[in-house]
Amino acid sequence: MSAFERVTRRSLLRGGAVMLGSAMAAPLLSSCGGGAKSGNAKELTFWNFYGPNPKADAQSKWFTDLVAGWNANNEVKIKLHYLPVSEYIAGTALQTAFSAGQGPDIFLLSPGDFLRYHNGHVLADLTPYLKPDQIADFDGGVLNTRKVDGKIYGLPMEQEPLAVYYSVDAFEKAKLSEGDIPKTWDQWLDVAAKLTTKDQFGLLFETIPGYYQNFTWYPFMWMAGGSAVPENGGAGFNVPGVHQALKLWQDAINSKVAPRKPQGDGAGNAAANLAGGYVAMQQTGIWSVSQLEAEKKDFKYGVFPLPVPDGGTYTTDIGGWAFVANAKGANPDAAGKFIAWALGATDAAGVERGRQWNTVVKTNLPARKSVQEAAKAAGAFDKPALKVFLEQVVPGGRGEPRYTPEVYKAVSDAIQATQLGGVDPAKAAADAASKIDTFLKGYKGAAML
């Protein structure tokens, strides 16, 4: 009897069943361990979208130097894990990792996504690792959206306010000067109309649905007196102010002074839109100063604060990412110490690290007073654009809010329905408010701010 003849259909099926059974058991076994700590207690993973990245730019180097500095003096090592920014923000890697119980020990988190992770009980309390003077060093209310019940769950590395950038050439061609810079919403639409040509739109607001679009629309909601969720006993989303804010973005589209689709990867990209001649004015953040310097060095532009509605009060949205630690990571204690050292240290080296990140490799407003003072002393805010941000844009601003995905989506649907769908602002606001109110009735997580 040959060897081949010993293989029977039954034995083959039995072998297949064994392999199948093993395969089925594997994910079940791994999911059983989901609640336990995973990973290496002596080597912490730090997921981020800056470094080490293939371009090996200055921002990447800052991260690799940061980690090298820590690793040189500590037993527990940090290992960077780079993800492209689009994959990090909109991709599935981070969420999938947490679902599988394999989330990183340290990662970057924006206020917009804070509640998702906090309500999922994965953020570690960083308060024990910070001295009172270090906590006090954080400027204004920058920690507010990272705090719950007095405990700090994330340390911000930067502040990124929104403003309006404009093309000097476009203004000149339309025979406009600095004196024509709009201060009210009506003036803004008028100026945008004058700047609109066959090949160029006058103004750009984000039109792609997502967290970024919401982030850029919130200041208009606030200026007009609205809020996504009731604040300080005030009204909620369905108020005249919100209708006004939705109408501003709708009018910009309907009057054809703003495009229905931005260029590049969105309205936060000034090089592709403003400097590319696609639009003459663009709402974007302070990060565009360094982007334009790196990619469109010769482009002439100015910056002005967001215009204010009649009867409204100025404000802007100040975003920015934070370092957070995974409470279920391999070593949250070491992670907490690293974060406090990296972003909270008030010694000369710590302040210099902050200055380098915020005003040398990037253009941000530092999150800490000590770093701001050091940056001013070094002349960082002598640049015209940054000077406008520091003196005109930031005062009166408020931190990027933290809303749950459900509230974010309701607001997003309202923005999209009015801006691009032509729906009446009052109806869109009412629909969204209804969803938000329904959700809030059953909500038990941390406060939305």
Partner: protein
Amino acid sequence: MQPCSDAPRVAPPVWTRRRREALAGYAFVAPDLLGLLVFVGLPMVLAVGVSLFSVDGFGGYTYVGLDNFRQMVEDAQLWQSVKVTLTYMVTFVPIGFVVSLGLALLVRDHFPGVGLVRTMFFLPHVISLVVVGVAWQFLLADKQGAVPALLRPVGLGDVSFLGNPALALGSLVAISIWFFMGYQMLILLGGLKDIPKEYEEAARVDGATSWQRFRHIVWPLLRPTSFFVLVNSTVGAVTGLQAFDLVYVLTKGGPANSTSSVVFYIYQQAFTFNNDGYAAALTTVVVGFLIVATGLMFGFTKGGRFDVG
């Protein structure tokens, strides 16, 4: 010594050639079948399991029975997505088929350069769908894109193909047809070439027109191939790459949810809202729908064999 006269007879052989060949066939298929079971079958079973739980996305599971399925009834956004997917399907599938068949008929007969023409029609399919999305984003850019520039002389330069809710889904359909027409053309071309030339030649000799030859000879004999293309196309429209990749790259489900397909919506539920249980339930229903739809199509058409001997 002579053999004993009462020695036992030799038993008939257990392994016949036919049995060994069948076994060899199973052995060759086993690795692929195993892969299919592990990477497709197993996730499906697990998804059904997860659909009975409320999952927070961070390792927490709470049994909720059929609540995730009941939630679907009241989910207005879901029904909007169903509408989007059905609209996409009923436009992409038939139009894509007609375009592909037209191309296949066009390049069926030999003419100088026919190979090059076939290649050019197939070329879009070779590119990654994500790259296709980025390329069309440039072509369709408001005011500055190549398409608006071409349309400006006829007064359509201000049309926003991806930014207008009334046009965005249609734009995705058009791009999808452009992407898949070459692939489908190739399959249909194979089917056309399987048809014996003698049939049409005989009909031509008898005076049949081009249309009559197509209607009564080519079309009926093309039915098995057509069936394959249509099934493939339908499944792809509901859950294939274009149901997600193009939406993700070009529109993110916008503007105003006008391109939020069911698959994109499932993605949002899983990765934006952490509603893994609900996403799994939706996936279960989608798979169920496809199984039923495909089963019905197979049943009505005898597995695509029709009445061809």
